[in-house]
C-alpha cells in the first residue's frame, strides 16, 4: 500500500492493465515520450515500448476512430483526450460509432475502449479547460460513464473500465489530481498523502462499474454528487452541520438507482450537486428519477446546485463554481421544507 496522488493512481491502473494484458495500448496527444500534459502516462512508453504507448496527431476523431478499429481487431485501447473540452471533434466517433458497434452488428464486432479525459474547473482554465460535459455522454445508449473522486477509486474504476467489454468514458476531475479539493480555493490544498483515499494498494483490484459509494452516512437529507463535488459536499455538511447522507455516484451510466432510492426514501430530502451547467445537466435526470421513485417519501422540493448556464468564465471562476457556501445554503433550505 502506498499513498498516491490521483494522477499516480490513474497511471498505476494503466501500468497494471498493460502489464497483465498485451492487448492494452495507450495513446493520445503528448502521451508518449513526454507522458502527457498531466503526466498520467509518464514512463509507460519506456516500459512497454513505442508501439504500446505513443503520441497521436492532434485529431480527437482520429484518436477515437483509430481506437475503435483497433478494438475491432482485438486490442483494448485506452486513449487520452487532453481535456474533456476537446472531446467534441471525437463526439461523432464516440456517440455514433463506439457506442453502437455492438448493437448494430449484433455482437459481431465489439468496442472495448476506454476514453480518459480530465474534466471540470477550478484551475483558472477558462472556457476551454474547465468543462464538465458528462451529460453529453449519459444521454447516449451504449456508453458507460465513470467519474472517480479519489485515488483509490480512480485506480479500481479505471482497471474495470479497461477490462470492460464496452466503451467507457472515464472522466478525471483535474482539480482532484493533487488533493481532495473542497471548494475553498482560498485555503491551502490538502495533498492526497494526508487523505485515507490516497491509500492505493499495489497490483490489480477492480471496483465494479455501476455502484455508488456512501461517503457520509446521515439522516437529514440525501446529497447526490460525483467527482470534485463530493469533497465540496462533505465540506458543506461539516460547515452547516446538516446531517447529510452523501452518495458519490462514481458511475453515472449505468446508474446505481437502488442506492439513490434507498437513501432518499430514508431521508425524505434530496439535494443534487454538479459543476456542469444546470440546464439539461445530469442533475435533471437524477431529479427526475428521485421525483419518480421517491415521490411519496419526499418532504421537500429537490434542489439542484450546479454551474450557472453560462460558458465557464475565467476571472469569475469562483462565482461560477458551486462552492460550499451555495451547497450549504441549498442544504439548509432543503431541511426547512
Amino acid at each position: 500500500m502506498a499513498r498516491m496522488t490521483m494522477i499516480e493512481a490513474v497511471r498505476d491502473a494503466m501500468d497494471v492493465s498493460m502489464g497483465q494484458d498485451p492487448s492494452v495500448v495507450v495513446f493520445g496527444e503528448d502521451v508518449g515520450y513526454f507522458g502527457g500534459v498531466f503526466r498520467a502516462t509518464q514512463g509507460l512508453q519506456e516500459k512497454y515500448g513505442r508501439d504500446r504507448c505513443f503520441d497521436a496527431p492532434i485529431s480527437e476523431s482520429g484518436i477515437v476512430g483509430a481506437a475503435i478499429g483497433m478494438a475491432a481487431n482485438g486490442l483494448r485501447p485506452c486513449v487520452e483526450i487532453q481535456f474533456a473540452d476537446y472531446m467534441y471533434p471525437a463526439y461523432d466517433q464516440i456517440t455514433q460509432e463506439a457506442a453502437r458497434i455492438r448493437y448494430r452488428s449484433n455482437g459481431d464486432f465489439t468496442c472495448p475502449i476506454t476514453i480518459r479525459m480530465p474534466t471540470g474547473g477550478g484551475i483558472f482554465g477558462g472556457q476551454t479547460h474547465s468543462q464538465s460535459p458528462e451529460a453529453l455522454f449519459t444521454h447516449v445508449s451504449g456508453l458507460k460513464v465513470v467519474i472517480p473522486s479519489n485515488p483509490y477509486d480512480a485506480k479500481g474504476l479505471l482497471i474495470s473500465a479497461i477490462e470492460d467489454p464496452d466503451p467507457v468514458i472515464f472522466m478525471e476531475p483535474k482539480r482532484l489530481y493533487n488533493g481532495p479539493f473542497d471548494g475553498h480555493h482560498d485555503r491551502p490544498v490538502t495533498p492526497w498523502s494526508k487523505h485515507d483515499a490516497g491509500e492505493v494498494p499495489a497490483g490489480r483490484y477492480a471496483i465494479p462499474l455501476g455502484k455508488a459509494a456512501k461517503v457520509r452516512e446521515g439522516s437529514g437529507l440525501t446529497l447526490l454528487t460525483y467527482g470534485t463535488m463530493v469533497h465540496v459536499a462533505l465540506a458543506a455538511a461539516a460547515e452547516t452541520g446538516v446531517d447529510a447522507e452523501i452518495l458519490d455516484l462514481r458511475t453515472l451510466l449505468p446508474l446505481d438507482l437502488d442506492a439513490i432510492v434507498e437513501s432518499v426514501n430514508k431521508t425524505g430530502r434530496c439535494v443534487i450537486l454538479h459543476e456542469a451547467t444546470l440546464t439539461s445537466g445530469f442533475g435533471g435526470e437524477l431529479a427526475a428519477l428521485v421525483a419518480q421513485h421517491c415521490f411519496y417519501r419526499l418532504e421537500a422540493p429537490i434542489r439542484r446546485v450546479a454551474g450557472w448556464d453560462t460558458p465557464y468564465p475565467h476571472a469569475q471562476e469562483w462565482a461560477y463554481f458551486p462552492g460550499p457556501a451555495r451547497v450549504g445554503q441549498a442544504m439548509l433550505e432543503t431541511m426547512e421544507g
Binding site: 495500448v25 508501439d51 504500446r52 497521436a56 496527431p57 485529431s59 476523431s61 482520429g62 476512430g65 483509430a66 481506437a67 475503435i68 478499429g69 483497433m70 475491432a72 481487431n73 482485438g74 486490442l75 485501447p77 471533434p89 461523432d92 466517433q93 455514433q96 460509432e97 458497434i101 455492438r102 448493437y103 448494430r104 452488428s105 449484433n106 455482437g107 459481431d108 464486432f109 465489439t110 445508449s141 451504449g142 458507460k144 467489454p165 464496452d166 455501476g210 449505468p254 446508474l255 438507482l257 437502488d258
Partner: protein, 412 residues
C-alpha cells in the same frame, strides 16, 4: 498595406456541365488509352509516381484485349468467376429494388455500374483481411461468397436477419467475411480502418485493412483523420475512394474543388495514390493487388481512386432525373463493367453471347431462389420477425438494470 486596385470579389460555385434538359457531355473527361500507365515497383515513393494520381490506369482496351504492364493478374477461371459475381450482384440489385417497391423492405441501395470495383477488389484480399465498406460495396460480400439469403434476411429484417432487425437494410456486418459493420454516418469508417490496420501492425500480424469512401464523402473530416493516421503510422491499409461522379444530387466537383482528382488528396500526405478505371475488372484487380502487396510488405498505405459512374439512383428514396440529364449513364465514356469483361472473355475465346445469356439467367435464378428462401423467413411487415425483446439486447454485453426495467415496462 495593399496598394492594389480593389475590384469586387464574387463567389465561385461549381456546377456540373449539364443538368436535366441538356444533353450529356463528358468531353471534359480525359480517358487515357488502356495499357499506357506504367506499373511501378510496389516500394516506389509517392512523389516518384505522382502521375498515376492524374491519369487513369486501364487494362481493357476497346477491342476487349488486356494490354500493358497492369495486365495479367488474373487467370481465366478467375475472370469467369468475376463475371459471375458481377452478374449475381446485378441480379441481386434488380430483385431488391423491386422488393422495396413492393413494400417488402423500407430501403435499398444498388451498385449498378460500379460492380467491378468491390467484386475485383475482394479477390485481391486474403482471409482475415478486413474491409470498412460504405453502403455501396455489396460486391465485397458477393465476391466473398457470403450467402445471398443472409444478405436478404438483413434487408428484410426478418427472423433470419443476423442483425436482429436493428439496422437499416443493406447495413450488413460480417466479421468472418472481412466486412465491418456499415455505419449510416459517412466517412466514420475511414480512421477505423486505419486503426484496425495499426492494430495488425502492433500485434505483428499479417492482416491488412481496406477503407472505403465515396467521392462526396471525402469532404468529411474523418477522411482527413484517416489519411493523417495512415500517413503517420504507415498503416497497412488501402484507402479506396469510389468516385462515381455523384453524391446524391451533388456532382463530384463540389467535393473535389480545385484539385484535378481525388487521388491528389493522398499525395498531400505522401501516400502513393493511383487512379484506376473502376469499370475495368482487370485494372481494379491489378491495382488492388499492387496495393495489397505494399500493405502486406509493411510499405504502408495506398490510396486508390476508382473512377466510375453511379448508373442508378442514389437509393430507393431518390430520383436522379431531377438533377442529371437523361442518358448520362449511357454516355459515360468508361462503359459498363459487365459488358467490358464479357467482351474480354469473348475476345479471349473463353466466352460467347449465348453463354452470357445463360449465365445471366443462372445468376438470376440463384438470386430468386435465395429470395424465396429469405421471404419464407419473413419480410419487414409480414412473417416472422425479430422481437421487441431483441431491441433491448446487445446495447451492452450485459443488460444494465435500467434497460431491464424498460424491457419489463415494455412487457417483452
Amino acid at each position: 498595406m495593399s496598394e492594389l486596385h480593389r475590384s469586387s470579389l464574387s463567389l465561385h460555385v461549381p456546377e456540373p456541365e449539364v443538368r436535366p434538359g441538356g444533353s450529356p457531355d463528358f468531353s471534359n473527361v480525359v480517358i487515357p488509352r488502356a495499357g499506357e500507365a506504367p506499373r511501378p515497383e510496389p516500394d516506389a515513393r509517392a512523389e516518384d509516381i505522382r502521375k498515376l494520381a492524374f491519369t487513369i490506369i486501364r487494362v481493357l482496351n476497346r477491342e476487349g484485349e488486356a494490354v500493358g504492364p497492369w495486365a495479367g493478374s488474373l487467370t481465366d477461371e478467375q475472370l469467369k468467376a468475376g463475371l459471375r459475381h458481377m452478374l449475381l450482384l446485378r441480379a441481386f440489385d434488380s430483385r431488391m429494388v423491386i422488393a422495396q417497391r413492393q413494400g417488402k423492405t423500407s430501403f435499398y441501395i444498388q451498385n449498378l455500374g460500379e460492380e467491378a470495383i468491390a467484386c475485383a477488389f475482394r479477390k485481391a484480399l486474403g482471409p482475415g483481411d478486413m474491409n470498412f465498406p460504405t453502403y455501396r460495396q455489396a460486391g465485397l460480400l458477393i465476391a466473398g461468397d457470403y450467402p445471398l439469403v443472409t444478405m436478404m434476411n438483413q434487408i428484410y429484417s426478418n427472423a433470419g436477419d443476423p442483425l436482429k432487425g436493428r439496422q437499416l437494410p443493406i447495413m450488413y456486418s460480417t466479421r468472418e467475411n472481412g466486412f465491418f459493420t456499415i455505419s449510416g454516418n459517412l466517412a466514420t469508417q475511414y480512421p477505423q480502418a486505419v486503426g484496425w490496420a495499426m492494430a495488425s501492425a502492433i500485434k505483428k500480424d499479417d492482416k491488412i485493412a481496406a477503407a472505403w469512401i465515396g467521392d462526396g464523402s471525402t469532404a468529411e473530416s474523418d477522411f482527413h483523420a484517416g489519411l493523417v493516421f495512415a500517413s503517420t503510422y504507415k498503416a497497412p491499409v488501402i484507402l479506396n475512394v469510389v468516385n462515381n461522379q455523384w453524391a446524391i444530387s451533388t456532382f463530384q466537383g463540389v467535393a473535389r474543388g480545385g484539385a484535378g482528382t481525388f487521388a491528389a488528396r493522398g499525395l498531400g500526405f505522401g501516400i502513393p495514390s493511383l487512379r484506376v478505371d473502376g469499370n475495368d475488372y482487370l485494372a481494379v484487380h491489378a491495382v488492388a493487388s499492387w496495393a495489397v502487396e505494399r500493405a502486406r510488405r509493411n510499405l504502408g498505405p495506398t490510396l486508390i481512386e476508382h473512377v466510375t459512374y453511379r448508373a442508378g439512383a442514389h437509393s430507393t428514396s431518390d430520383d436522379p432525373s431531377a438533377y442529371r440529364p437523361k442518358g448520362e449513364s449511357d454516355a459515360w465514356p468508361l462503359g459498363d463493367p459487365v459488358i467490358r469483361l464479357k467482351n474480354h472473355l469473348i475476345a479471349k475465346g473463353l466466352w460467347s453471347e449465348e453463354r452470357h445469356v445463360q449465365l445471366a439467367a443462372e445468376t438470376m435464378d440463384e438470386v430468386m431462389s435465395a429470395q424465396k428462401e429469405a421471404e419464407s423467413l419473413g419480410t419487414l411487415h409480414s412473417g416472422d420477425r425479430p422481437s421487441s425483446r431483441d431491441m433491448f439486447e446487445g446495447v451492452y454485453a450485459e443488460m444494465p438494470p435500467h434497460l431491464r426495467r424498460q424491457r419489463q415496462e415494455a412487457g417483452v
